[in-house]
Symmetry: C2
DNA sequence: TTGAAAGCGCTAACAG
DNA sequence: CTGTTAGCGCTTTCAA
């Protein structure tokens, strides 16, 4: 059996309240008693039982997070931010992976609540108003992070996608490209952030004299989806003299570049390709991927900071938080 | 205030013990009472407070894990395995990142213990007997995972590095390579797994008539280290007609291939390069990296399985667990 | 089969 | 400044 506060009290010859006071520094204790207690604690190697403590204080110092898949590098990065900042404020992280199933998301959120987590961060890749409502009903601080979709009624933290997309398109234009294709993804148009990104792209193109929009859709957001659409894109490139492809996600861009590699099309010599996200591989891959940096670490950090603020009683504004945009100019896009 | 067992009892018109019995199904309860209780639970949306439960049962159903950095893809993969299997047995994961500092590892392990985790998994990248001893003193199930170093006295789960390295070298030989360079890393020779891997390489080379060993050291295990050693390797390649480089880690291999890319050396046309680990990027990168698969997910899965077994009172053998080896034959190495 | 009561390890009034 | 005591929400004897 582990050593408890009683053992310490007994050894130090004081009451348990005194021990409690010294470990929490909650009320003045005479220095001699304090010394005795500290001595006993040291001797016994006593560590307070946080579970017992939580039960009475109603503070578990736990933040629950349910992610789609910690194996995704951008999610791991968000979790890093959450964990590191959480720790600074004394919170530990309880992690669970839903693998994209929204019932699982619910179930895990439920379990987390049972474990008395003080707040929940959900990192999702699908839209599910249902799940959001469900978790909000817990009445504990809750942040919803989704790189692909938005729930307009629910604040989150992200970059301004419209602006980012606009800036990236402009960068391509500055590089001299005139026929820029935007590669988006089929799907829920209503809630997809693609709506904003496409508008950003359009705005930039529209400012061109005779600017023409080329929008194309992949089946999904994955590397494989990018690869699979390669042949159709390449056909387009040739027919319409496209010189740059702006992919709505880094994964698609990587997949597309892989397709090019496998088919002897040189990037950026034959075609410039850029992505969106700046996932880890983007700067490792050759050619290094030109992309928009979504600051995943910071997104996680800000998310948990919000939760902690709310826990501390600060009123958090009910607005989306936008983080700075950065265009990572690398070698996958060249001047024309 | 959340709804408690008392509320349920009151509403159902029974004692709290009865409620407890139905939620735990621990003792027979008449079906009518049961019905009333279930009804009340439903109506109130009652969920047992796991913290309170833990306090009395002394089972937190929490496994603590301290990792070097969840941003590392192989670590994320191990965590996936841990989490997924843990969940199957009703355990939740509390995650913390040490960023490589062994005092932090200690400190976090300590915090986890306070949180009453039932077992600890430490994923480390350095050697520190100290930390291991410290955590073992907690007297709770503990698994130590380290991709780079070994503590011979402490069982872990991994592949047989000697055998893996032997097989990979043989594969290179089968491909027709005769001058194969092994790229290792400077450092703690005593505890490094490189010892075994180098021996595996040597054994394969030695079976060759006139086989010659070429062993070279990078400064560290990172992509950057691989890149930085590029010029020296290339010099060697030319002088000594090396046709294949066997890198002791995928990261080094990727770094080296990047160096080649940037310096117009074609892989695998000019030089074959293989890695060790099969990290996520290995199969995405072009050329796809030939490498040895270390089954990270499975390593995590087996690790937590061991912990759970121990928690269930099964005696676990005090031996290292070896997982199957697989050579991923891809395009970065070609026939000669 | 049920309920009363003790107690898990700790904090926080409340007295003194 | 210190100790006594009453819980926190739950499980688990022990009687009934």
């Amino acid at each position: 059996m582990a050593v408890t506060i009683k053992d310490v009290a007994k050894l130090a010859g004081v009451s348990i309240s005194t021990v409690s006071r010294v470990i929490n520094d909650s009320k003045p204790v005479s220095s001699e008693m304090k010394a005795k207690v500290l001595e006993a604690i040291e001797q016994l190697g006593y560590k307070p039982n946080e579970i017992a403590r939580s039960l009475v204080t109603k503070k578990s110092n736990l933040i629950g997070i349910v992610v789609t898949d910690i194996g995704n590098s951008y999610i791991a990065e968000m979790v890093r931010g959450i964990e590191e900042i959480g720790r600074m404020y004394g919170y530990d992280i309880v992690l669970s992976s839903s693998y994209g199933d929204s019932n699982t998301e619910k179930k895990f959120a439920e379990i987390l609540r049972s474990k008395q987590v003080e707040g929940i961060i959900l990192i999702s890749e699908t839209v599910n108003k249902d799940v959001i409502d469900y978790i909000q009903d817990f009445k504990i601080p809750f942040i919803y992070l989704n790189k692909y979709y938005i729930d307009s009624k629910f604040p989150s933290v992200s970059i301004d996608d419209y602006e980012a997309s606009f800036r990236m398109t402009n960068y391509l234009l500055e590089l001299g490209h005139r026929n820029v294709l935007y590669l988006t993804v089929n799907g829920e148009v209503e809630t997809s952030l693609e709506k904003y990104k496409i508008n950003g792209y359009k705005k930039a193109i529209d400012r061109l004299e005779e600017g023409r929009e080329w929008i194309f859709s992949a089946k999904g957001f994955s590397i494989e989806d990018g690869y699979n659409i390669g042949d159709r894109i390449v056909k387009f490139i040739k027919e319409d003299n496209i010189t740059a492809v702006f992919c709505c996600q880094d994964e698609l861009a990587i997949g597309l570049i892989n397709y090019c590699y496998d088919n002897n099309i040189k990037v950026p010599e034959d075609i410039s390709i850029c992505g969106y996200g700046d996932i880890k591989i983007a700067s490792i891959y050759r050619p290094r991927l030109t992309t928009i940096k979504e600051p995943y670490y910071d997104i996680g950090a800000v998310a948990i900071r919000k939760i902690i603020k709310e826990l501390d009683g600060e009123k958090i504004e009910d607005k989306n938080t936008y983080l700075p945009i950065q265009i990572m100019k690398r070698e996958s896009c060249k001047k024309i």
